[in-house]
Point group: D3
Chain length 320, copies 6
């Protein structure tokens, strides 16, 4: 059986945006797009030249079909998607009142993806991967989703698949205490952790990069922490440091930058590069993503990243 | 306290239709409308010049706000709407592949309206009504919805409010056996029943108008049965007969004709007209509604119905 | 008969905006909205929790129907609207060439609303109101409109209804001299006057807040003058002062802020609050309105205003 | 000075159509087009290879600019357009409820074109024309418009310019009696009259082709009467006959066929062809126009007409 | 190396359609879709459950990217696509004046796909296929395209890959004589030929099914000839017969039916079914495709075909 | 024969822009506009009150028709346009990822306009012009286009028509060396040269205004060099100087400013004004054009320029 560079899983949803910048109560025309943190990462990794598998549980409806085709269209293996005969594909609406006042309305609870359960996992599929990518969104969706995450970690962890974990804290989806407990636990079982500074504080209770990293890296882990415009901080048993970010001319759409960053980290690790170089490319991808509308539309191909890095001086970090 | 001609309640949803006649998996632009059998009836009754109250349980979201304003905008009392803090306003997507191949995708299960419960009823409000209008959709939505229907019937029935019941059979929402049991039971507790021919057969097991009507009218009820193009058949203890329908030039959109028919019946009853005249106006409204796109957009004002009836010879019924 | 908190009247029109920011001569796609200073105020007052009646003279056409439903949809009493059998509902087009170059093209002269006449007034209706709200737009529309304004003032003034007057100077609609004469006269007959600084200068010929206010408040009136970012100045026989405005992060659309301010004043007066508190809330509403596209779409509910005020420090006024 | 084949004048308006087939009260998106009987004829004549001049009085607004450019873009001389500094360019909305239920809402009264007056006529310009084309719409617009029509007829008639008159009866615009009186009078002063069968009956009170024609041709005139699918009937002192119409596969949009017919007649007369041939081409153009959406979009070039006629057998007339 | 069921190649283009049914000269809004006979077949075969490879030469532009992703999204192997650094992805515009008057405007000459050349072929890839599918469009595109078709036939023919050929005659793209010569020659080198009746006549000069088939099947070939509503006729050395088509309720869009038919034939052959059964399913797919808008959007999954066939009586053929 | 103020020629194309600011690979809705440097200049000159002729070679397709009508609609003589029976009207797509990242995708190579050849020139037509305007785009399109430019220069130069040349360097269309050679040669044959500072450096190898101008003005020419915000520098045998630009409040769309500048120069020369005044008006037009979306939509009428100049103090140049 063919090996695969990265396997990831989690809910991708259909996103509806109003045609105009108006309160949704007054708007009657909408555009459809696709959104999902894990599929963003999968798309990013695929564009950087690696083989990726992504799966979720989809509804048997046209929106499930749309998501399936959109992700497969990016060259990602979607063969392990399962289907719910009962629940529909999740969706959400984005209301933009002003550039700083964006509101989200979910039709996600009881979605097909929230029905994901350990039985949906193909053990052999995970074992074929070099990296298993997991986010903190999935365990927040439902009890069976959480069990699925743990089951995947169990499979990967006990068989030499490296687990990369992005906490992606969403306090709208679960209670703070439960979130802290579960995410800390998953971090503990992962090999590489990719928190933002805020998430690092949330998980550890510490307030400095070094203190956060020291707690999270316990047990031989690697932590790479996003610092916004400043860049990113990395630390493991052997080394630590800050890699400054790239200057961004115009932030068109900040969404998806963190996912692009994760894709960049995975790509660098797959290339066996030294950590500072890995992080620098991840910073570059974050900077590129914010210059384009859409969650995944701006994820660059490997040539575009290299070109951008050779052109830019990395004095400022934008990867968020 | 002011009396009210009609009170009705039930779920109104947001309806999204694709900009083009394409399978939804391939369409990325959508228009928003409003849909709901009970609010259609309420709008119809209001345009015919009567006072109406409608309520549902809405989500605290822009779509709940949209529905509330749309129905209030028709001059309907919406003051008894309640809100769910948890569940969103229901919505659905309509896929039109050809004029005969229309498919519906619901985001309705677990909606705010499905949380409707007997506690949401304002007993005094119902008692102020001359007619309580109920459909067979509401009891199919959830257990608490069914209990709410029964509670409303209880309030109305024991206090002299006339109960008008449209079975509106939706086999997608519940099992056939349960549907038959519950709808028959509600029919039994109602005063006026407005089934289609198919629904009449479903409820009684009989196959002729007279046989169906004889079963349904037991206990002094009135049955008015829609016969499609042929018109409608009415029967009670005192009289029965067929009122032929009106000729329709072009069926633009058949949805909503049954609701228009119900509105016409209620209006005629409120005017204390003889049954054949009541049914004739209901037929006319059904014929008018199918000539306009949208579920409620084509519901006529009283002047328009009268004008249409005086212009038309009623040789063919279109009320469906 | 039920009393009402506020009654207002005046022309609401249909507004068409181009789909793109292009000179209209080159644009072939348009969106429809609703616009009108008095209905904005009515919507604002209704959202703040009070009972309001609004009326105008509408055309017997789909745009009159659209306006009627839109305003009724906000919970406003529209029962006193009258109809012109001859003249159409007014409309206008907005051309936005750049953020600072916006041009308006009216189809308003000879509109139904310009046919409004004293006979359209329901005296009892006005007498049921605590406040009568009037703008300086209506007397500019036609001779019969002006007479209607005077007739309404006469009814209200001689029966203890407090008259609140917003000059809303529109020099495109009438000659400067006539405008000054009529608006001064109406101000003279009003109890509370809500001019902008420019309008205050126009009406009095004075150039300082105090001088303007001193002239306008003669005879026991209250003046509340909008000062743009600085906030607002209030003065009556007993007190005067400046209430600073709220800091606005991003001005999305300045239109409607003045109407929101008026709604805030009316709401505060209805709550019997001290003037500085009344003005502070009005400032807050103005600040909220400019953060949302549309004339009335951004008018807040009372909870939203209170929340905003408790969150914000009022160091800068934006109510214009 | 250069001579011109045809001169015509009359109001062209901006037409707004809803994006969907919905009652306008419920539609918020509109497309803009141009419409006008006289400009349709001018466009038709221009495409058939002749020189044409058209004029109207336009508003000083973007819609006047749009109309001016659209007509000039067809190669028509628009140099004699005048402008109103007060009144706007006329516009109207088309509501299509079903294919047989189309409703029109005008913003035309008091439009710039209705201000057209004899002083706007350039006598030399009219005298340069071989044919002056006039419709019965213009005299219905206002008193000054009617005077302008009479003044133009006076100029043309007394100087050897042939007057072609299309009654274009619009009973929405004026009273039946006045319409009959004025149109009969204009017909009397014209040389060639192009009524429909209904208009012929309206003007003469007669009920057969021959009787109508005999009355209208008095004084040496030519009458060419449109008979719908059957074709057209022509009569003058020397000859008369019916020219059958062309078979139409699919009537996409009937509007504009009569104007195309008029353009065809003018073109044939300019080519000095025998009447039956003139009428046959006019029939062909009518048949082509109804196969295309839009009032003037389907008007053919001369090559297209010739091709169509050589391909078709003229067994049925569609020019309406 | 993995074997593949079907390999096909040829130009897929971007298709732009106007938002309204208007002559393109007057339309300013367009929608984008994808179109291509060979990719239609590939999509059809993939939905029926087989493995397919498709390739073309694409431009290095967003439209090439769009086509690549769209086809990959259907689960088709696109790994053998090559790119032109010079020429753009082909595109075309569709003008629909009426249902019977559709006009096409190509931007296809000198497109990237027309640069396809024998060097772009991966010999091993073709040899892995069970069936090579070829259309008569590709050899019409350019000299190098024709050479590529011949080279692919050479590879497949001499190595046991079955060649299925759909003539797809396009007289707009090349001269009749050359088309007849080349297509006859390719038919001669193919194993299974899928002409329409017209194409059969064009290629053989014969006028009856049997005579056409007898000429085309020379040398042990199989011919399956589409007969429109009547169904299809098949013939080889061992058997022949007509398989009647399925009744179609409403032809929404006839384009793509022939490609669906080809996909059905390939699927049946891959399932080793007897010819009449193979043809019957192909007929069914053709009937399903015409009921949906778009070239490939209506191609059914295998379950949908089986369901449709078990529901329908095949009395009438619509596969075209 | 009538004389004409300016004659110009060159390719105008159809421009498609996406409905949203998205990478084109993800956008399926497009708007159509018109674009072309020479037609922009023609439109600009026409709006300033002069007679202009423009021509190109168009495709026999609806886009050619659209361009023809659009330019004729501006009052420009288009009678010398020729048609290609083979090649289509050129078009291009504009992708805007962010305000600073705009990408262009051409369908222009092998377009109808690229087939323009010396035989398409009407010698008498050029000789009737006072000014022949030429850009450096046309010679870059094809060999025959270059020959056409030279032939036009030959006609004009040897007969007293003043040649105005805007280098409009487009390095995407040809090689740098060839561009420098040909453009320098054309500049040498022209009378008035309108380069930007960059183009001046490219053509002369010099780096200061004076040095560039000294080289370019050799042989009695006039050079007017655009300096961006600073304004423009002019020089001829008699005089030289800088005319400062106008302050621009908001740059909405910078495209077309250079063409507006050229139109302004031509208009000033036609008015026989002194050079500083000529340049000042050209600066003003550039400043007006950048404040409006579209290439030609913002070109002002003469009254608008005069008004703008009298209102503005020219302290800063924006003409680019």
């Amino acid at each position: 059986m063919k090996s695969m560079d990265v396997v990831t899983f989690g809910e991708s949803m259909v996103l509806f945006t109003p045609a105009r910048m108006l309160p949704l109560a007054y708007e009657n025309q909408y555009y459809r797009q696709m959104a999902g943190a894990e599929s963003n990462v999968a798309i990013g990794v695929s564009r950087l030249g690696h083989s990726v598998g992504w799966f979720s549980k989809l509804g048997r409806d046209p929106f499930g079909e749309f998501i399936y085709k959109s992700i497969q269209g990016e060259g990602i293996d979607v063969s392990r998607c399962t289907y719910s005969e009962e629940a529909p594909t999740g969706l959400f609406f984005k209301e933009k009142r002003s550039s700083g006042d964006v509101r989200i309305y979910y039709y996600r609870r009881h979605s097909a993806a929230s029905m994901l359960q350990p039985e949906d996992l193909d053990e052999d599929y995970i074992l074929r991967a070099k990296y298993l990518h997991i986010t903190g969104i999935t365990p927040a969706l439902s009890k069976s989703c959480r069990e699925t995450v743990y089951a995947a970690i169990e499979i990967a962890g006990s068989n030499g698949v490296t687990i990369v974990f992005d906490p992606n804290l969403r306090l709208k989806l679960w209670h703070e205490d439960e979130a802290r407990r579960v995410l800390s636990d998953i971090a503990q079982k992962s090999h590489i952790i990719l928190p933002g500074m805020d998430e690092g504080m949330f998980l550890t209770g510490e307030h400095t990069r070094e203190a956060i990293a020291t707690k999270l890296t316990k047990g031989g882990k690697t932590v790479i922490m996003k610092l916004g415009k400043e860049g990113a901080f990395y630390q493991n048993e052997d080394e630590n440091g800050v890699v400054p970010g790239f200057l961004v001319q115009e932030v068109v759409d900040p969404v998806g930058a963190g996912d692009g960053f994760s894709a960049g980290i995975l790509s660098g690790l797959l290339r066996d590069e030294p950590l500072p170089k890995v992080v620098r490319r991840a910073n570059a991808i974050g900077a590129l993503v914010v210059g384009v509308n859409g969650d995944s539309e701006g994820l660059p191909k490997i040539e575009e990243v290299e070109q951008f890095m050779s052109r830019s001086s990395s004095t400022q970090d934008v990867s968020r």
